[in-house]
Structures are given as C-alpha cells and as structure tokens.
C-alpha cells in the first residue's frame, strides 16, 4: 500500500470552517436522501396521512439543511465529525483478459479520454497537461462528482497509475497493470481502485454501498473495454436505433 502522506494532505485540504462537521460525500447523500424523504412526506400528506407525512418532511428538511450547510446539530451534540476523521481506503480490484498485445491495450487506456467510452460512471475525462487530467463522474440518482487527477506511474505496455489531487469530491487513486497472458491469450488487465470515503458511521455505510455498486460497475466496465478492443464496439441487445 501507499504511504498515508496523500491522505494527510487530503484531509488537510478538506478543512474549511469549524462549523462544517459533515463530510462531502455525506453532504451529497444528505441532500439526496433529504429530498427523497421530503417528497415521500408530501406523498403521505396527499394521501391524508398527515402525522407521518409531516414527520417525514421535517426529517427530510433537516437532512437537506445538513447537506447544504455541512453542519449537523445532532453530530455536534454527539461530538461526531466526519470531515476531519482519518479513515482507510475501500479497495476494488477486477481483472479481465483481452485478446490483444499488452502495448495495444495500454495505448488505448493511456489516452485517458477513452475511459468514459467503457466506464459507465464517467461522464468525461479531459487531459489538462502532460500528467494531469480533469475527471467528471455521475453516480446513482444523478449525483455528480469532479476531481483533478495526476498520473504517477506510466510504464508503456505495463502499468499506469493515477491519483486525485486537491479538493476531490471522493478522493481516489487507481492503477492498471497490463501483463501478457499465457498461451497467446492476449493481455491480462488488472485494475485496482482505492476510494477514501469520509469517516463516521453513515459515511462508511454509504461508501460501502458505493463500493458494492462500483465493484460490479468495474467488472461491467472491463467487459465493455474487452468488447470495444476485440470487436471495435460495445455489444448491444438494442432492437432499434435510438
């Protein structure tokens, strides 16, 4: 594993004002969950179920406020702070074998702007410099996140690694290895991605959920990469041109 220096610098960068005690991911979750809860409350009220409807709207409103401001009164009272808590990474690892030489697979990946072609959650990757790029992701429920990334390792035909820098919504780092597969089977592609979710119980739960989705997402992504490289396009069961 990497040294924790990156983590330290990142948690330093997260410090804004004292009053903020809800981490960025949790704030987003709060906004979305709060809005959903408030909507359910409205639906209850429209069905003449006033008591639970109002309770839901109140709770929803509280979550919305918490997400917007980053301050949670309940957390304050409990002494919980999910911004300044150091925590460990969530690691996702997946592998796929692609029937092309390592150098070709490497070259496709090395052009980072290709990544959104097979990574569902990425909206765009813009190369901003020799080693730097800007990433935009879209999560479940239309939640979006952006970060700048910097390439760390770049060994042609073998390995690429990168990590987010600055104020990343979800700090992360990733690495992809390309290894010749035995018996002319092509290339073994192994991807490792680490996320650094904000701390606190709720943050960890949300992040775990995200990991479940993302591990599967990464598997699907790699299958799509294989299709694009082996067939020239993604396989589709669509019956009509949309």
């Amino acid at each position: 594993m990497e040294s924790s220096e990156t983590e330290h610098s990142q948690s330093r960068e997260w410090r804004r004002e004292k009053r903020v005690n809800v981490g960025p991911t949790e704030r987003k979750a709060s906004v979305i969950g709060g809005a959903a809860l408030a909507m359910s409350g409205l639906r209850c009220i429209s069905k003449q179920n006033y008591a639970s409807g109002l309770a839901m709207m109140l709770a929803g409103g509280m979550f919305l406020y918490r997400g917007q401001t980053g301050h949670c009164g309940i957390y304050d009272a409990m002494g919980v702070d999910t911004v300044h808590t150091r925590n460990s990474a969530l690691t996702i690892e997946k592998a796929v074998t692609i029937g092309l030489p390592p150098q070709e697979v490497y070259e496709f990946w090395r052009n980072l702007e290709n990544l959104p072609r097979f990574m569902r959650h990425l909206e765009s990757v813009q190369v901003t410099g020799v080693r730097t790029s800007h990433w935009k992701a879209v999560g479940p429920g239309g939640i979006s996140a952006e970060w700048d990334a910097e390439m760390m390792e770049d060994t042609p035909g073998q390995q690429i690694s990168w990590h987010s820098v600055g104020e990343a919504d979800v700090p992360n780092k990733g690495s992809v290895e390309f290894k010749e597969a035995p018996g002319h089977r092509g290339t073994e592609v192994k991807v490792t991605i680490d996320y650094y979710p904000p701390g606190g119980g709720a943050g960890r739960a949300a992040a775990k959920l995200a990991q479940g989705i993302n591990a599967q997402q990464l598997e699907e992504d790699l299958k799509r990469l294989k299709q694009i490289l082996e067939l020239g396009e993604e396989t589709t069961a669509r019956r009509t041109v949309e």
Binding site: K223, E230, L231, T236, A237, R239, T240
Partner: protein, 406 residues
C-alpha cells in the same frame, strides 16, 4: 410488426411492436419464415427464469430471409435464406476461435448477472431473458441478428425452411450430446427424455454408429416416436426400474453412454430471486433431478454421461461416489451450434437426417398463446410446434409467402 411477447407467468400475447432496425454494422434483419417453441421456452412461460420483463419478445429457433444488411456484412446479401443459431457468438474471442461458440465472451452484455452464481457465463441467446443478454427473439415477423457473418448459415436452394428450422437448436443440441459420447462400433447409447432434443440425440447416435439406442420417457406418444423415427428400444420409467432394465438389456454391463435430455426446469442468476426460483423448480421437478442419478447408476464403468438438459442451480444427493468408483466422464453445456451446422445441413440436404419428422404442429404465429398451453400440457400428442409469422389467421398480409417455399 407482430411478435410473441412475455407478459408474466403463463401469459404470452401476440403484440404489435416496433420493427427492428440495423443497430450495428455487422447486423442483418431477418424476415422470419418459421419459428419454433422450444422446451426451454417453457421455463420462461412457467415464470421460472428471473430477469424477464413485460414485453420481451420470445423465441430462439428461427429461419428466414435477409431483408436488410449492415454495411459491415460481407458473407450475406439481401434475399439470402438463412439458418440462425440460437447462441449469439462474436467470432473473435478466445472461445469462438476454439469453436466453443455458446461460451462466447463478448455476446452477452449482461454477463455479470450470471457470473455471481457460476463464476463465469456463456454468451447471449435470442429471446431468453435479460441475463442471457436481453436480445429480442424470433417468434416475430422480423428479428435483428447481430454478428451475422459469424452466426448465419445459408440454406441451399431447393431445401424448404421446414427441413432446416430444427437446425437452429434441437438438432445440433442432440447431435452434440451424441458427439460427446465418443461412440465406438457396438456401443449402446441410452437417452433419458424423448422430447425433441432426446429424439435428435437418438437419431444422431444412430448416425454416429451406435449399435443400439434406448429411449426412456413416460409419454406413450414420445416413446412411439422414438421407436418409429430413431429405431430406438424404449423404456417407460413409470413401469420399470430403469437401471435394472438397462443392466438386463446389456448383459449386465450397462449402456456405454447415457444422455440426459431431461434437465431441471429453472435458470438461476446471482440476483436475489434465484434462490426462490431454484427452490420452486426443485419442488416441482424432483422427478427430473432423479434422471441424472439414474444415468449415473445405469452407465457402464468408464462410460460417458452427456448432459444437454438444462441445469441451473444446485442438486442434492448427487452420486459423486458412483462417478468416482466407476470412472465416468461427464460432458455438459449448451450446444456450439455453429460448429455442427455445415455438417448437419449436408446430412439434411443428402436426406441422411430428417429432423422435420418430429414436427407435430404447424400453426400461424397468432395462435402462439394456445400453442404454449398445448406444448406445456403435452396435449394433442404435441412434440414440436412450428409457428409461421407470415401466415395470418385473418386477412392475408401483403407480401406474405408460403412457408417452405424455396
């Protein structure tokens, strides 16, 4: 166009839906001349298969004429009459290159759904739920067929559609079952299940040189057909102890190879519904799980078990001890249709093989809902149903043509 759509358990309807279009340059659009209902369609009909959605178009056995071709298609032209294999194969991946067509790596966009249960998964299949790719099926007037250059086989002039429609699935499936038995002169091959696949397996075993074939079932009309079409000796498992009868018929040795064309009625996935589906299937189809145990007990030492009936989940009380003690070899899996098509087509054209002899029902597509019921309940001595989408029960549609017209 009109298509047979799934609406739920025991509920299929002929709906009006949008015509398919060329989506990828390797596609063709096939105007369906004939399409069959397969025994495995009954899994969908019975609601055992998860990941079916309302409106899904069914059917994976169909032949017809190419009416449109994508810019990347080189082997075929508009007007060609073609056989469409039920497994979809990309032709490029490691498995396709080794003729393991039904295990294609790239043709199932939803392969992750099955991976959770099996560790890995096969390729896409027409009209067979979203976990097999979500491809629209052939019980329709038109079908979008991807990877046309890889999958399709041209029907020779003068060979009617009806003679080759079973080459899409049941015939190659039965042939592979027999091929996996490595039949030697003098061999006896016993086949559990005398439905379409079992009948084709017996025909193929004969063709591959088996001295004797023995068909096992409980439906008199199926046993009759096994006897008349495949020259099989027959056993009704409701009347005799199958393993004992087989021992006595083979001088105490047991059959050299045993084919399981019964299977277990359910398809599992890694999603939550799978456990219930499998349980449901086990509760309803316990007699079917016992077929595999019978095979194991009956087979001679050093013999082969060839499994083409569909299995989906887990089996209890599996006689691993017998497999070990008798040194049996086990083959299983979906047919690699592409591998066998040219050879089978030649056999049919030379009239050495007549798959169409097992077709018992010929109906217009409109009658699909009733046809599914008939097939499910084995009414009216039903063995194989062929539907014609171009034949209307009401007014004739413009451009419709006689089925089987070359």
């Amino acid at each position: 166009m009109r298509a047979v759509c799934w609406h739920g358990k025991h509920d299929v309807r002929v709906d009006e839906v949008a015509d398919p279009q060329i989506v990828s340059k390797g596609d063709v659009i096939v105007k369906v001349a004939l399409t069959c209902i397969c025994g495995s369609d009954l899994h969908l009909y019975n609601g055992y298969v998860p990941t079916m959605k309302k409106g899904d178009i069914m059917g994976h056995e169909f032949v017809g004429e190419i009416v449109e071709a994508g810019s990347g298609v080189t082997r075929f032209h508009v007007g060609d009459r073609v056989i469409v294999p039920f497994p979809i194969s990309c032709g490029v991946c490691w498995y396709c290159k080794r003729e393991l067509w039904s295990l294609c790596d790239n043709s199932n966009p939803n392969s992750w759904m099955l991976e959770h249960l099996y560790g890995d998964t096969g390729g896409g299949i027409f009209g067979y739920s979203h976990m097999y790719g979500g491809f629209s099926g052939g019980q329709a007037e038109y079908v979008r067929v991807p990877f046309a250059d890889v999958g399709l086989e041209k029907i020779p002039d003068g060979v009617p559609y009806e003679q080759v429609v079973l080459l899409t699935d049941v015939c190659p499936t039965g042939y592979q079952a027999a091929d996996n038995c490595n039949i030697n002169p003098g061999d006896t091959v016993a086949v559990w299940g005398c439905g379409p696949v079992g009948l084709m397996a017996m025909m193929s075993a004969r063709h591959l040189g088996a001295e004797r074939v023995i068909g096992i079932d409980r439906f008199p009309e199926r046993l009759r057909m096994a006897h008349s079409q495949c020259r099989a000796e027959v056993l009704n498992y409701e009347e005799v102890d199958v393993a004992e009868a087989l021992q006595n018929m083979t001088g105490g040795r047991g059959p050299d190879s045993c084919i399981d064309a019964v299977g277990l009625e359910a398809v599992g996935t890694g999603i939550e519904g799978v456990y219930d589906s499998v349980k449901q299937a086990l509760r309803l189809e316990t007699d079917r799980a016992s077929a595999l145990r019978q095979l194991t007990k009956a087979c001679r030492k050093g013999g082969t078990l060839s499994i083409v009936g569909v299995y989906s989940g887990f089996i209890d009380k599996f006689p691993m001890g017998a497999i070990f003690a008798k040194g049996l070899t086990l083959h299983a899996g979906q047919a690699h249709v592409h591998k066998y098509l040219p050879h089978l087509l030649k056999l049919v054209a030379d009239q050495q093989l007549n798959p169409s002899s097992i077709i018992t029902h010929r109906l217009p597509l409109e009658q699909a809902p009733g046809a599914y019921k008939t097939f499910l309940n084995k009414q009216d001595d039903c063995i194989k149903i062929v539907l014609n989408p171009q034949e209307s029960t009401g007014t004739a549609r413009p451009g419709s043509e006689e089925a089987g017209a070359a």
